[in-house]
């Protein structure tokens, strides 16, 4: 018998807000975190805009020691530690004592690539024959698991501490990995989340693929247009999101605030078959992932109130809506509300899933459905499948019982998690 798993802490470092209050206010008001990036313009990028968290320089002193800050040049670690430690504190959990690790708490904190700016520093030194000048932190800032290592050390986690990586699915997959570990009794608390670095060396490859919008450099906040007829590609972003997952027993015992329950979910891959490729999803796999998440969670298709889609603002958004509709056997006005936070934050890549899971859970906690910005011109192929009323453009009060969140990534990988309002 699986144990019940609840969410007791949230943290976020997003392009449109750092911390839960700033982030949820920004989503509520449709405030965009997408801005013109002069450094991308200097480097001749086609897309010169991005969603990047604005971390005040004094804020990092609350999270890192002066020694840790010395030579720290990995934005993903900065975002991840801010979100992760905030989530841990939001759950009213303390750091382990100096002498003993917290054996029941673990971390699954994913990323796509970590510390690219630090790695660039290292490459220049190495190429100049100066490898001895790298210092001691080149490895820990650039290893993928650097983020879980930093968090694990600060908190003192003694359970599994690891990093998953599955492109844009990473954050949502991590929630399910942590859920399974607690449900199966192997841990009491798992800090799950993901982070993604900022900067030209992360975003350049996507610019080269010509899948980023190029006509909005003077109009950044309008560029990310999920589900819209004028969608012109995804806007690259960065940041981190984090959730504290906890067994219901542990949360009840310490009287913790419970934001929501994780009912279950599914991950799969389309095998890059049947229309799927390393960059495009196999629609059948997407549908199977959604259906299996629903079955695994013990709910009916009709019970889903709100969907937070992957919906990156490309031509694939129409396919995603079709897949949801087929999987849920719901269309027109019977379709759940569906939104995409990428209109406001862009596509935060490996951090997208965790940032959007945080926002999905906030909807349950606050009794809101956040509006999707920049989709006033919903794509006509989408409105052939679902009624336009199902795509709220403005935030409105509505208490969802069940929210489905999905993320899809390069490699033809999918993850779908089912969150529920907590009901004892």
């Amino acid at each position: 018998m699986n144990r019940r798993v609840v969410i007791t802490g949230l943290g976020v470092c997003a392009p449109n807000g750092i911390g839960l209050d700033a982030f949820s206010n920004a989503l509520k008001n449709g405030t965009s975190g997408i801005r013109f990036q002069p450094k991308l313009a200097d480097l001749n990028f086609g897309c010169q805009i991005a969603g990047e968290p604005l971390v005040p320089s004094n804020l990092v002193n609350n999270y890192f020691t002066p020694l840790q800050l010395r030579g720290l040049n990995s934005s993903g670690i900065v975002y991840g530690v801010i979100a992760g430690i905030d989530a841990w504190k939001d759950a009213s959990l303390s750091l382990a004592s100096d002498t003993e690790a917290d054996w029941d708490s673990g971390i699954i904190f994913g990323t796509g690539i970590l510390g690219v700016d630090k790695f660039r520093e290292a490459i220049h030194l190495i190429d100049a024959g100066d490898v001895r000048r790298l210092g001691s932190t080149s490895v820990i800032q650039t290893m993928a698991s650097g983020i879980s290592a930093y968090l694990g050390g600060i908190i003192g986690c003694g359970n599994q501490v690891t990093t998953n990586s599955s492109a844009c699915t990473t954050g949502t997959e991590g929630v399910l990995m942590g859920y399974e570990r607690i449900a199966s009794g192997k841990a009491e608390r798992m800090l799950v989340g993901s982070c993604s670095d900022s900067g030209p060396y992360v975003w350049g490859g996507f610019d080269a693929m010509r899948i980023l919008p190029r006509k909005y450099n003077q109009n950044a906040s309008k560029a990310s247009r999920p589900m819209s007829a004028s969608a012109a590609g995804f806007v690259p972003g960065s940041g981190a999101g984090a959730l504290v997952l906890e067994s219901l027993e542990s949360a009840s015992k310490r009287g913790a605030k419970i934001y929501a329950e994780v009912l279950g979910g599914a991950v799969n891959s389309g095998g890059q078959r049947n229309g799927g490729s390393i960059t495009a999803p196999n629609s059948l796999a997407v549908q199977r992932c959604i259906v299996s998440a629903i079955e695994n969670s013990g709910i009916e298709k009709s019970e889903i109130d709100v969907i937070n889609g992957h919906l990156t603002a490309t031509t694939k958004d129409t396919d995603e809506i079709a897949n949801w509709s087929t999987a849920l056997e719901r269309r027109g006005e019977d379709f759940p509300y569906i939104n995409s936070f990428k209109g406001a934050v862009g596509h935060c890549l490996a951090a997208a899933g965790s940032i959007e899971c945080v926002a999905s859970v906030l909807q349950i906690d606050q009794g809101n459905v956040f509006g999707t910005i920049n989709c006033e011109d919903v794509h006509p192929e989408i409105t052939q499948i679902i009624d336009v009323s199902r795509i709220p453009q403005k935030t409105f009060a509505y208490q969802p019982k069940i929210v489905a969140k999905a993320s899809f990534g390069f490699g033809d990988v999918n993850a779908c998690v089912i969150f529920s309002a907590f009901n004892n």
Partner: protein, 84 residues
């Protein structure tokens, strides 16, 4: 730069690498970086780099191997400064 100035300069470097539970007052000329000051051995390479920058000298691998205490470091710094 006299001996005391060099010691002070080195102290400024070393104190950044102390663990939170070791006070700056614990540093003396005889202090062993790892055994007494509990400095993470990985950070010794950073101390060496900082020393190189602060004194505008370059340490060889052998120098680094011999640098176990604050005193050792001062001896090496003195030697390198004389060689300049």
């Amino acid at each position: 730069m006299n001996t005391e100035e060099r010691y002070k300069k080195l102290l400024e470097i070393v104190k950044l690498y102390l663990p939170e539970d070791v006070s700056e007052d614990a540093i003396s000329e005889e202090s062993h970086f790892i055994d007494e000051l509990n400095i993470n051995s990985a950070n010794l390479v950073d101390i060496v780099l900082d020393v190189e920058d602060a004194f505008d000298i370059m340490l060889e691998n052998d120098d680094m191997d011999q640098m176990a205490t604050v005193h050792d470091a001062l001896v090496i710094i003195d030697k390198k400064l004389l060689e300049k």
